[in-house]
């Protein structure tokens, strides 16, 4: 058993109205990857901010390398060798790679003049140790997200970090990039760095971590060795119930065809895509990031243009719509990035809900506040949205509740077809199952539903039928008993190999 590099005991941190951490104790050993899991609001991010010096704990002790330690601030943490790699990367896009690695701690003489040669040679060494394919002079803004993440990880080399905390590091990476990241993490581990790995993605946690600590409501539920446990047990520790209740599938009672797409093509994005969806049916679109799933539905909704293709809406051939026409016909698209596309964050739930259908709520352009309130209350209770009132800014709500408002805003126009793009990305397990239940309920009420997801269990769990997409093409279609992980993986991976072989 390797030595403990960082140990926290009985850490408590309270904010007005909430105890975010309640006597939390856990430890990180040198050379291990230690997962920190829990629903949103369980205290993971507070704990990590305490470790990185962004918050000061109200009570408890941090022992670092055998010494009781106070982490005074983020720079102090970094200089001590504790490095936090944020989900929202903590970089300045206009500065160079080297300047970002040493952000705020640039080597300077005593007049504050940069020692550029030292800066760039040190940075080069850190980048080479990680095997990065870019140099220290590149402007960070020109790098891909994965490369930018490597710049942050290079800080671990530059500051000889002993503890590196990863917060949802794969949230915006492709699968290849994730593999590279895992390779890097294993390299850090080999050199004796203790790693804290925070993620919602259970497959990753079982892939890369050695131990798992589960937090719930600010308390540690337990720490277990990864190889001695399974998903079911971890989930139970996280939410206090088992995985069996996790997915609800709508009763397969299908009505008439709502939408049919034939031969939809757009150069460079997708090729010859055909599918149809019926009333009461949940159609899953599965594929890896970059497979063209979002692009296809955005084209159907009229956000993007197509080169070729035919659409039938309730049996009648139609032109490719504009988004306005699509909404008027009865289509709804709930986009993937709700912060960027789905919600006006400073508005309250009431205004967000009515936003796409202001006509329904107004007389000669004057808003009918009472009607708006009625709809808000209806969906607040129907979707059990936790909000203090109709005007609480949605930016203050949790991811799950935000997503429910996004759904509410589309549901109140009474659509015939609703397209959900990654409906549960980045939200906690409890809200996830609420959204899965809602999908089933919508289908049972006779809506046609299209669900896009890169989480295989989710696609399989909620859909009646699944299209597998790869490299812009629909490569397979499964339903009934054929809906299995193996089939989906086979379809997608074989196709990728074929493409690579060509």
């Amino acid at each position: 058993m390797s030595e403990v590099v960082l140990e926290v005991s009985d850490i408590t941190k309270a904010f007005p109205g909430v105890v975010a951490l309640d006597r939390v104790s856990f430890d990180i050993r040198a050379g291990e990857v230690h997962a920190l899991v829990g629903e949103n609001g369980a205290g993971k991010s507070t704990l990590m901010k305490v470790l990185a010096g962004l918050y000061q704990p109200d009570g408890g002790e941090i022992v670092y390398q055998g010494q009781p330690t106070k982490v005074a601030g983020p720079l102090d943490a970094r200089q001590k060798g504790i490095l936090l790699i944020h989900q929202e990367l903590s970089l300045s896009p206009e500065l160079s790679v080297a300047e970002n690695i040493y952000l705020g701690a640039w080597p300077c003489n005593r007049f504050g003049v940069l020692k550029k040669r030292e800066l760039y040679s040190n940075a080069t060494r850190a980048l080479e140790a990680l095997g990065c394919g870019f140099g220290p002079h590149a402007r960070v803004g020109t790098l891909s997200v994965a490369m930018q993440q490597m710049v942050e990880i290079a800080r671990a080399e530059a500051f000889s970090a002993n503890v590196v905390i990863f917060d949802e590091p794969t949230a915006s990476l492709t699968d290849t990039e994730r593999d590279q990241l895992f390779h890097t993490i294993r390299g850090l581990k080999k050199r004796g760095v203790g790693i804290v790995y925070i993620s919602h993605k259970m497959d990753e946690i079982f892939d890369i971590t050695d131990r798992i600590t589960v937090l719930r409501d600010g308390q540690v539920q337990g720490t277990v060795d990864t190889r001695d446990t399974d998903l079911n047990r971890i989930t139970r520790m996280m939410i206090g119930r088992t995985l069996d209740t996790y997915f609800v599938k709508a009763k397969p009672e299908f009505g008439a065809e709502v939408l049919r797409v034939e031969g939809l093509s757009r150069a460079g994005l997708f090729e010859d895509v055909s599918f149809s969806v019926r009333e009461g049916e949940v159609l899953g679109l599965y594929g890896l990031v970059g497979a063209g799933r979002s692009e296809v539905v955005e084209t159907v909704f009229g956000v993007r243009k197509a080169d070729r293709g035919t659409l039938w809406w309730k049996g009648a051939e139609i032109d490719l719509p504009t988004p306005r026409k699509a909404i008027d016909m009865g289509m709804a698209l709930v986009p993937e990035s709700r912060k960027e596309q789905g919600l006006v964050l400073l508005m309250g739930g009431r205004e967000n809900t009515s936003l796409p259908h202001l006509k329904l709520f107004s007389e000669v352009s004057v808003m009918n506040r009472a009607r708006e309130m009625g709809v808000f209350e209806k969906y607040r209770s129907a979707l059990s949205i936790k909000t203090t009132g109709p005007d609480q800014a949605v930016s203050q709500l949790s991811g799950g509740n935000q997503q429910k408002f996004v759904l509410a805003k589309w549901l109140c126009a009474d659509p015939k077809l609703i397209i959900l793009d990654e409906p549960t990305r980045g939200i906690d397990v409890g809200s996830k199952s609420a959204i899965h239940e809602l999908i089933a309920e919508l289908a049972e009420r006779g809506l046609a539903v299209i669900v896009i997801s890169s989480e295989m269990p989710e696609v399989l769990g909620v859909s009646h039928r699944v299209l597998a997409m790869s490299e812009g093409e629909v490569v397979a279609e499964f339903e009934g008993d054929a809906l299995t992980e193996e089939n989906l993986i086979d379809a997608v991976s074989h196709h990728r190999q074929d493409v690579a072989a060509e």
């Binding site: 720079l75 952000l103 640039w106 870019f134 590149a138 790098l143 492709t174 990039e177 970059g290 960027e340």
Partner: protein
């Protein structure tokens, strides 16, 4: 956003071209020079260029400070008023205490007001637009109180000869502008403070997490901006021999136009003194060239407005291309 993982080209192919894309103002400047050279016989003369540099240098010195503040993601609307106050103090006080102490006090007033702006922005959390808008009005009022609503005249005219130093056709004022611009370009590119400026303007949370004292940093840049406004005011008082209470009125707007024209972004994190020099010179060439053509004042304003919007549109187009699809 599914293409978020797709790599944006990181190669440094065509460094010169990419420098030009980011500093397109120099292309713009070359174009205006060509147009005016062809349309006015008096434009392309050494003498006129000396004039352009001197005329541009006043806005230029303000623009150097403004650039620092704007890369920080802030704005300082009070520079014109600070300029007027420094100019009034430099002239008004010299009869009582001598020229040098008066100049030092004028400088100090600029530094103090800049510090006050910075401290208010950093500690109150108010937007600098509001803080310095208040400062603009308040300080202008103070100038009227101090001058008694009349222009102050110098008694000793040797004061007006102080800036009469020339390097060929280039006046001392222009030399000071270029000196300051080059010095602060060096500060931006080669010192901790300069790197902090970009980091704070670009991603303030990252800067804070990296242990940068964001509040102190912003106060320093506002103080520098105020001090440079005072430098400008003192030079103006030397050149004119008087201190008008209305001196520098709407110069803050010309300054912002020059900086933005150069390519420095209002939202912060991006810009350089090279860009600002380009913006200042372009503005000066435009004003001078239009006057050479005897353009009526209101037409001049219309042209300047159009140029500003055109330059920003160009910036949008070029940077969209640079950022990829």
């Amino acid at each position: 956003m599914s293409d978020i993982g797709a790599a944006r080209s990181g190669t440094v192919g065509g460094t010169a071209l990419s420098w030009l894309l980011r500093n397109h103002i120099w292309v713009f400047l070359a174009l205006t020079l060509i147009v005016f050279s062809l349309s006015s016989p008096y434009f392309l003369t050494v003498n006129n260029f000396g004039n352009i540099l001197t005329q541009g240098a006043f806005i230029g010195i303000l623009a150097v400070g403004m650039t620092l503040v704007m890369i920080d993601g802030e704005i300082d609307l009070s520079v014109g008023a600070v300029l007027a106050l420094a100019s009034a103090l430099a002239i008004g006080l010299q009869d009582h205490m001598g020229v040098l102490p008066a100049i030092l006090l004028a400088l100090l007033s600029g530094a103090a007001l800049g510090f006050l702006n910075g401290a208010l922005v950093a500690y109150s959390g108010m937007h600098s637009f509001i803080v310095t808008l208040g400062a603009l009005i308040g300080i202008r009022g103070l100038v009227f109180v101090y001058t008694g609503e009349d222009a102050l005249m110098v008694q000793d005219f040797s004061y007006t000869e102080l800036p009469e130093i020339y390097l060929g056709p280039i006046s001392l004022t222009a030399i000071i502008f270029f000196g300051l611009a080059l010095f602060f370009q060096w500060v931006l590119s080669s010192t901790r403070h300069g790197r902090e400026t970009y980091a704070v303007g670009d991603n303030i949370e990252a800067a804070h997490d990296a242990g940068i004292n964001v509040k102190r940093h912003k106060i320093i840049n506002f103080t520098l901006c105020g001090t440079l406004a005072a430098v400008c005011g003192i030079l103006l008082s030397m050149r004119l021999g008087t201190a008008e209470p209305n001196a520098g009125r709407i110069w803050e707007l010309w300054t912002i136009i020059a900086v933005v024209l150069g390519g420095t972004r209002l939202q912060g994190g991006f810009g350089s003194m090279w860009m600002t020099i380009g913006g200042v010179l372009t503005l000066a060439v435009l004003r001078n060239g239009l006057r050479q053509l005897n353009t009526p004042n209101y037409v001049e304003l219309m042209v300047m407005g159009a140029v500003l919007i055109l330059a920003l549109a160009l910036d949008k187009v070029l940077n969209r291309r640079e950022a990829g699809p």
